[in-house]
Structure formats: C-alpha cells, structure tokens
Amino acid sequence: MNIIQCEELSKSFGRRHALQRVTCAIDAEKIIGIIGRNGAGKSTLLNIFAGYLKPMTGSCKVFNENPFNNIQTAANMIFIDDRLSFSDYLSLEDILKMGADFYPNWQNELAYRMLDYAGIDLTAKHQQLSKGQLATFNLVYGLVSRCSLTILDEPMNGMDEAIRTDFYRAILKEYLAFPRTFLITSHHLQEMESILEEILLIDEGSVIAHAPLDEFKEQLISLHGPSDELADLLSETEVYAQKIVAGVTSAVVDASKLFISEEILRTKGIKVSALTASEVCMYLTNKKGRDIDAIFD
C-alpha cells in the first residue's frame, strides 16, 4: 500500500529548479533512506510531503490527500529537522505534555527514559540545549509521537558518534515495536544503511534511483586488472569511473550490462568486487568526466 504518491512534481525557487518532474511512490511501513548531494532537492521534496511547501506543477498525495495546509495529514505525520522550534516559555517537560495532547499514539514514558539516557534535563528550555542535545530531543520527540509517517531530515546532525549509534538502534527498535514509514535523510549513509529497507536517490531535482538496498548496491561493480584485458570489456558496457595506472585499470561499471561470468574474468586476472551503498551513490551522482584531479592539472 502506498502512503505517498507523487506525479510529475516540480518546484522552483526563482530561477532555480529544486525538483523536476519527480514521480515516486512510498510504501507504508518501510524505513527508507533519502540520499543525495547538497542541494539535490531532498529537503524540498520532504517539505512538500509534509505540506509545508506547495508544488508548482504535478501532484502529491499523502494518505490519499493533498498534504498542503491539510490538518488531516498533519495529524498523522511528523517532520523533524533542525529548524523545529518550540515556545521559549516552555520547559522540555511541558513540550512533551503538549505532544501527548496532540498525537494519539504518544509514548510519554519512553520519551522520559530516552532523554534520561541521553542526559538531557527536562526542566531545561528548548533553546538552552546544545546542538547535539537539541538534535537528540527533536529525534526523541519524533520517535515517541509514533506517527504513521515519520520524516527525519538529517536527524543526527550535531550528535556525537556514540549517541548516533544508539539512536539508529532506537529508530530500529521503535520501528519493530510499532511499524510505520520512516523517511530519513543523512549524509552518513554508511552509518544507517543496515536499518534501511530501501533507498531513494535524488540528484539535481530528480529521483535517479529507488530500490531495495541490496539491489541498489549490486547495480554497479568494480573491476580491477590488466588494461589490455579490460579495454575490450569496458568498450561494451557503461563505465562510471576509470583510472589507469601503470598498465593496471580500475573501473566501475554497470553490472547489468556485463555479460561475462566472474569465473572467466578471474582467469583473465580481472578482480571483481562489490561497492558499498555510499560508493554507488557517489558514482551515480558524479558528473561524467568530473574529477578532483583535473583541478590540479
């Protein structure tokens, strides 16, 4: 079942195209990583899902409704990012109390336990918190609201590594206890990939990949071997990156366009290896021919 359905969605800010004809569907009860370079359009897309921004053309349906200024979708959805702000007059404890009044599935006791674990004082005011504490509080707020659609935009920004590891596990445990849709953006894909079911890769305002994590990873492979053996092979497939040093070629290619078995490659002295998810993201979003080395030539 889809809980989000977007068709031909476009959004511009002035002359800059933030999103261009995005079509995608998000299933219910999955943890999905939204990945992309800085300025790729991730936050714009999430803000449209959340109903904070209105698309210029195309349609977006969340729970089968237009989310823009819609109280019905807002009640079943929570959007957490570092701009989340609460009244200056309220203590964290008061903020939690308000959350409990608004969200029907709210877990107040769990919020207390998580904040206590993170060493955050409930009598503090929201704006008194350090950057990392603020991110932690916001994430806890997002988790205990148990909304069917939970959007976390860079939730771990500013947190130290230990607490990040703890809270990825907290997200997973909360998901197991109460399955819901999580959309999570992060620049540290490697840290969170184990808890993801799918990945949605955005580049220059378009969705360029949306697949289960393993399939996503397996679409590219890396080949390493003698240049003379590899030259023919590379001319027949799509090459994403290539380096030749002293007669040895390393290349990243499209796995689906390689019609030769690993065994045969091995007999030619060519080593085949898989890539990590974040490497695949990097190669898929790299401009063809763009190379940091070229700057120094």
Partner: protein
C-alpha cells in the same frame, strides 16, 4: 557474529551464512524453530526485510521449512546438505584459485600435487 557493513558481501547473504553456520554447529538442530526476521533484525541491528531475505535463501534451498503461523524450522537433512554444498562449491572455487595462482607463479602440475600431498601429511 558482527555484520560487516563496509564489507562487500550483502547483509542478507551474511545472515544466510550465519544461519548455516548455526546449523552446522548444531546450535540449530533438525525440526528446531529458527529465529524470526524480527529477532534477527534486533540481534544484528538490521532492517527486518533484510533479515527476511536471508531466511528466504535458506527456505529456497530447502534448509528450512515453514509451518503456517508458527514460523520456520530446520529441515531434517539441512546439516548434511549444507556440508555437501560447501564441499562442492567452496572447495571447487578454492581449487580453481590455487591452480590459477600456481600457473601465475609458474609452478608445474607435479609440484602443485606434491605440495598438496605434503600439506595433507603435515595436518595428519
């Protein structure tokens, strides 16, 4: 087991392999119930869908069977089948690598056979 994230083996394959190890080591015995995908998710800190994929591999190879509403159980001859499969697949692959490496190092066929025999004797 620790799941290697930067490793190149997909997580679901690592889960499938771990389960096979548990069967070989008799920690999971014939007709015993195996972990659910949710237990595996919790145990290895992975998405339950990924854990489910690992279980599906064993199900497809008939190392596990399903009882409706009760979960998955180890097949009677699972252990023997895993051992047989490993012998066939892994040893073949390793033999291939040894032969290739020997060729690269210009080791003759006789020398290679002598080396293997010696290694065997050394272990006995």
């Amino acid at each position: 087991m620790h799941v290697h994230l930067d490793g190149t083996t997909p997580i679901y394959m690592q889960i499938a392999e771990w389960l096979q190890h548990e069967i070989i080591a008799d920690r999971l015995q014939a007709d015993q119930k195996v972990y659910s995908q949710y237990q595996l998710a919790e145990l290895f800190n992975i998405n339950p869908a990924t854990a489910g994929k690992g279980l599906t591999i064993l199900l497809e190879e008939q190392l596990l069977y399903k009882k409706r509403g009760l979960g998955m159980f180890v097949t009677m001859d699972a252990k023997e089948r895993i051992l047989l499969k490993r012998r066939n697949e892994i040893l073949t692959k390793m033999a291939q690598e040894i032969v290739l490496e020997a060729k690269r190092l210009l080791v003759s066929d006789e020398e290679l056979l002598v080396l293997i025999r010696k290694t065997q004797e050394g272990l006995e």
